[in-house]
Symmetry: C2
Subunit: 339 residues, 2 copies
DNA sequence: TTGTACGCGTTATCAC
DNA sequence: GTGATAACGCGTACAA
């Protein structure tokens, strides 16, 4: 008899499928079939279920994956530098919705992985060892991370349009262009004619799309009415100040995020412009802050819960080998006091 | 020959240790030894390293774990309800420090898992499949989750003292009692004699300890000077209002967190009390908000980076089978304008 | 120092 | 419908 081998660290002591099979008086195959909902005789099924409860069996995910089972875990790739990984409340909220939605499908784990910096690459290497499908947030227009992933045939689902990768990675996006268009059209319907815009970052799809929607609806386009922002409160303040200077006659400002809109509101107040009498202000996202400002913000709501559900279903499809595809969620204009 | 079996889903196409061995002209054992830093001949080592780079080999974590290797992943258990999982910026910041610290040890953090509610239990079940060691935040005084974990002999390291489990779970904590004591002693050294306190939640170790430190230093104890808070801004406002009503003659307020202290500051302003002239205000945590208030907050700093490093080393020790143990980090009084 | 072979726990296939 | 067993990729004890 040759050498006993393979004794790594002590076994965790957890019940295995063999223990269950023994307790139920059936073979491991039958237990596995019960576990996975495959056809099994009635008597066997009951015996197995009793044994399952009795032994407190918990499946070993590593063994499942090694044997080729569908992943029950998902990696979460946020394309920002590591120090801003969990810093965005909006992203965290969506992440939470995704956790819930995935949980309902018996899928878990969301490995927070940062984006493209040098240390981030190391973390991604670690993540790669798990071979999980990827849920990606804040995909930039070009990213080595994304190229790497699609090159390794990792199933990826993006939150937002993965510009340049639409055929390789599935995605869910909201109709940013349409939302911005609706907002600006609404402002015009209320008689506003000189409508300024504080854009989002131009290297993010949302930034590009919301500006496009603005241009769709604004009528005559005046460069003096466009200032670029960065989705931050401070950025909103600065941008509004510039806008007020460049185009003192403006009667409305559309900010591409509620957080920036809050900054716009304060800048207007400091500049002595009344909102909404002198200047109407529109936001985007229907973030919590939208009802925390005075006046409350007219904004564009994205249905985040359903959004997360769609991300989950897209991910499941992708795991099961379907081709990449995109879905677009509708948006809703929410009118409050700022217009 | 009996049936070919075990063909799950298509192989991911990743290079395996066998591919590397073939490319290097050595056996898999040798490759494994190189990978794990075990003694290997010089020629073999170089050949393997070349093959490693050439094949783009990435270890399969699931196979590693199944074979008994040390876990390269850690589960993150936050003992709050699911909807508050990523909602606390302080926790997120520490989480990030832990991510960094663990990453330096080639360990990746994984799986934000919520605490004790009914749906949370389901998520923990999922997490259990991975059999990861656990990094625990906000451990309440009594928790089925913790009992479950220690019962299953899962290595657990807590952030803060795991009251009632000190012998079963390792932990890192800062000296909350001493920090509070220093703060109150400092206030007294500046001539303050009627010092109120806004405590943290009394079912959290930090809340209990910081109040104890207050009692250590305050001298005569007056119940009218104690109001319980919940670590939130709004809670700080409410508590300060009550304090000002109950003890109009107070000349200082120690809030058990900076966020609450910010609320105290605003409540004082509304009540017409000048800070620090009429009322000195002390906080705790040295959170970002501590330098965002007017005046800036005198507070107690916890060395979070080193704290995270200690959490990591405690975790490693625990994984390697050492007994549970606790370490206490020192704190530092930071004096700013609010006193 | 290096090669060989077993075992980790699960899934899926084959034969009954 | 059920049992037996190969295969997943890796770590390691043992033999050479």
């Amino acid at each position: 008899m040759s050498g006993r081998a393979g004794a790594g660290r002590p076994r965790s002591g957890r019940a295995t499928i063999y223990d269950v099979a023994r307790a139920a008086g059936v073979s491991v195959g039958t237990v596995s079939r019960v576990l996975n909902g495959h056809p099994v005789g009635d008597a066997s099924r009951r015996a197995v279920q009793r044994a399952l409860a009795g032994t407190g069996y918990v499946p070993n995910e590593h063994a499942r994956r090694l044997a080729g089972a569908r992943p029950a875990t998902v990696a979460f790739l946020h394309c920002v530098s590591g120090d801003r990984l969990l810093a965005d409340p909006n992203v965290n909220a969506l992440l939470l919705d995704c956790l819930r939605s995935l949980g309902e499908q018996q899928i878990m784990m969301v490995t927070p992985v940062p984006g493209d910096g040098p240390p981030e690459v190391a973390v991604r290497m670690l993540a790669a060892r798990l071979d999980d499908p990827v849920l990606m947030f804040s995909a930039p227009l070009a990213s080595p991370a994304v190229d790497d992933l699609v090159g390794r045939h990792v199933p990826v689902v993006a939150c937002g349009t993965p510009l340049g990768h639409e055929r390789r990675v599935s995605y869910v996006t909201s109709d940013d262009r349409e939302g911005a268009r609706q907002m600006v059209a609404y402002l015009r319907s209320r008689g506003r004619r000189r409508i300024g815009v504080v854009t989002g970052p131009m290297d993010l799809p949302g930034g590009v799309e919301r500006l496009a929607g603005y241009r769709d609806a604004v009528g005559a386009f005046d460069p003096a009415l466009v200032v670029h922002g960065d989705y931050t409160y401070a950025g909103g303040v600065t941008a509004a100040e510039r806008l007020l200077r460049q185009a003192p006659d403006l009667d409305a400002i559309f900010a591409a995020s509620d957080v920036m809109a809050a900054g716009v509101l304060d800048a207007c107040a400091r500049a002595g412009r009344r909102v909404p009498e002198d200047v109407a202000v529109g936001g985007y996202d229907d973030a919590p802050i939208a009802v925390g400002t005075t006046p409350q913000l007219t904004t564009v709501r994205i249905p985040w819960r359903r959004y997360a559900d769609r991300l989950t279903s897209q991910l499941l499809r992708r795991i099961d080998g379907d081709d990449a595809s995109g879905v677009v969620m509708p948006v809703e204009l929410i009118v409050r006091g700022s217009t």
